[in-house]
């Protein structure tokens, strides 16, 4: 009896495995498709792309790549400057975002204070405010105060990131045990130190995921920097790629794809680095350290 059921379990295991692989491989191909298109189109000329957007190989890939690159230079495209600005903004914003969100979430989860629930409710509410609502007022304020062309205007708002706080709080509620905190207190550790040395390591998987999301969102934002950074020395990479859009009559598609490819590469690197926390699959909770 039992041997029969065991073999049927094994068989269903095998079927499941095949299903998993088929579905996963299908989604992987789907995923890679836009990247493939982007990199291939970077080696094609604008005219080729206009005539046929999806294709495998260009007639003259190297030549076109050079031409597309030349268009950059003609259009004031400075990958190094753009990269540096994007890097400063995204890195700064991401660090502030995850650190202060963790801190705020910890304040809500670990301490009993009078306005805690009110504060938490407010954060929830803020999260639900549509971005468009803040947009109109924010631009007006920045312009009024003459704070345009300051990278910090794109970095500092990350301190108050309600979505991340919400995630961190949810995560802490599921994983944080106050016993660990208590025992650290007994050892004489200060509250701030407990947060930095015990709670933050505990939150690694959460921090890694939110850092990725934050980095990607910050790196890719276009509309806000376009309006706030008018000095081209402050331009970010996506802004520079956007320049290639020019006007509708003369769009340099080949260069746009090349620009997009260049823009996306650093993200892939950051992602590859941070994703190990998601991928490794080891429990990083308080139990195993």
């Amino acid at each position: 009896m039992s041997s029969v059921s065991k073999s049927s379990i094994e068989r269903s295991d095998k079927v499941l495995r095949v299903v998993i692989y088929i579905v996963s491989i299908f989604f992987s191909i789907l995923t890679l498709f836009p990247f493939f298109l982007m990199f291939i189109n970077a080696t094609r000329s604008s005219a080729e792309i206009q005539r046929y957007a999806v294709s495998f190989i260009s007639e003259h890939p190297i030549q076109n790549l050079q031409k597309n690159w030349a268009v950059f230079n003609g259009k004031d495209f400075h990958p190094a400057t753009g990269f540096l600005n994007s890097f400063i903004i995204s890195t700064g914003a991401t660090i502030l975002n995850v650190y202060f969100s963790s801190l705020t979430a910890y304040a809500i989860s670990a301490y009993e204070w009078k306005f805690r629930d009110t504060f938490n409710a407010i954060i929830m509410a803020i999260m639900m405010i549509p971005g468009t609502v803040t947009m109109i007022g924010f631009y007006q304020a920045v312009y009024k105060l003459g704070l345009t062309n300051k990278l910090s205007m794109l970095i500092l708002p990350a301190i108050a990131a309600p979505m991340t706080v919400f995630f961190m709080r949810q995560y802490l509620q599921a994983t944080l045990s106050m016993e660990i905190v208590q025992s650290a207190r007994i050892d004489g550790a200060g509250e701030f130190r407990i947060f930095n040395q015990i709670v933050v390591p505990l939150m690694k998987p959460a921090i890694a995921t939110q850092a990725i999301f934050g980095y990607v969102a910050s790196w890719n934002q276009l509309f806000t920097p376009l309006i706030l950074l008018t000095n081209k020395k402050k331009a970010t990479l996506p802004m520079m790629v956007d320049l290639l859009n020019g006007d509708i009559y003369r769009t340099e598609f080949g260069s746009i794809y090349l620009g997009l490819s260049i823009t996306v590469l650093p993200l892939i690197i950051v992602y590859a680095f941070l994703s190990r926390y998601i991928v490794e699959g080891v429990a990083l909770g308080g139990v195993k350290s």
């Binding site: 995923t31 468009t132 924010f138 304020a141 590859a272 991928v279």
Partner: protein, 333 residues
Amino acid sequence: MRNKKLVNYAKYGYLFSIPFIVAFCIFTLYPVIYTFVIGFTDLKGLANTDWSILPFKDPKTGEAWYIFKNFKEVLTSQTFAKAFRNTWIIWIMNFIPQITFGLLFTAWFTDRRSKVKGQGLFKILFYMPNIITAATIAMLFNVMFQFPKGPINDLMGGIAKLFGHQREPYQYLLKEWPVKSIIAFIQFFQWYGHTMVNLIAGVIGISPEIFEAAEIDGANRVQTFFRITIPCIRQILLFVLVTALIGGLNMFDVPQQFINTQANNAGLTTNMYIRNQAFSGSYLYNRAAAASVVLFLVIVFFSMILFFIMRDKDEARLKKLRKQELKAAKKGF
């Protein structure tokens, strides 16, 4: 030792929240109040400095509640109604597969027994569509579905030819349902990996001992997932649901780049409606602000429902108990 225990930890709660509160007041609160106020004014037109809050009564007809004029205009506008309906339809069309596949992949890739080979690679790949800007992907899809010579039409024509049929190219971008479906698909394509990553982060946070115990008790995979994993990641699941709802109702980039207002607004969302009002043509800031407030209230309403459904019943009971105890203690004194 005794002293330590008496330390009032509450002050750290305030202390640690200060940076958030300060940044929030400067970068969010002020703009939000500004926008909310505008909803009750006659501010329209570019660089208009001569605007004021609407009077309570219509100065012409004497009708009451004139101050809500912008809101009335929004709520009676057919275009807004359509945008609102579209947003929900597209969101549901994208969210159901998104959460299904998100959960499915989470179950597969966190299952301790059937260690899927190459799962690390899959996990990395599935999030990748989220890296490219939404506008870019939407643009790519728009080009692909062009009529009469877009890649998809060519491909379908080629397949039809293989089977000896003649297929007329199809106007995907003029039909309501194809437009909505493609937008929903793009949204799904970009976000299922994101959902999966969030959920997996939640599962990783679960103590392995719980799984070990379940295994020893002889729970099968399905049981483990539904009885152990899901309840343990309920908090994260709530996060996923709420953020998906908020993100979905704020949908903008994809439909904007993919179709804009074409096909008789088949892909128009509420957020697009708001921006159309505010940043193009007549600069109807007041109406855009009113519409934003409406959108905000809708999001709050539905989020509340989610919070209620997903609430931690045990925790709520505990809280109640504690409050009662406190009260009793106070009475005792």
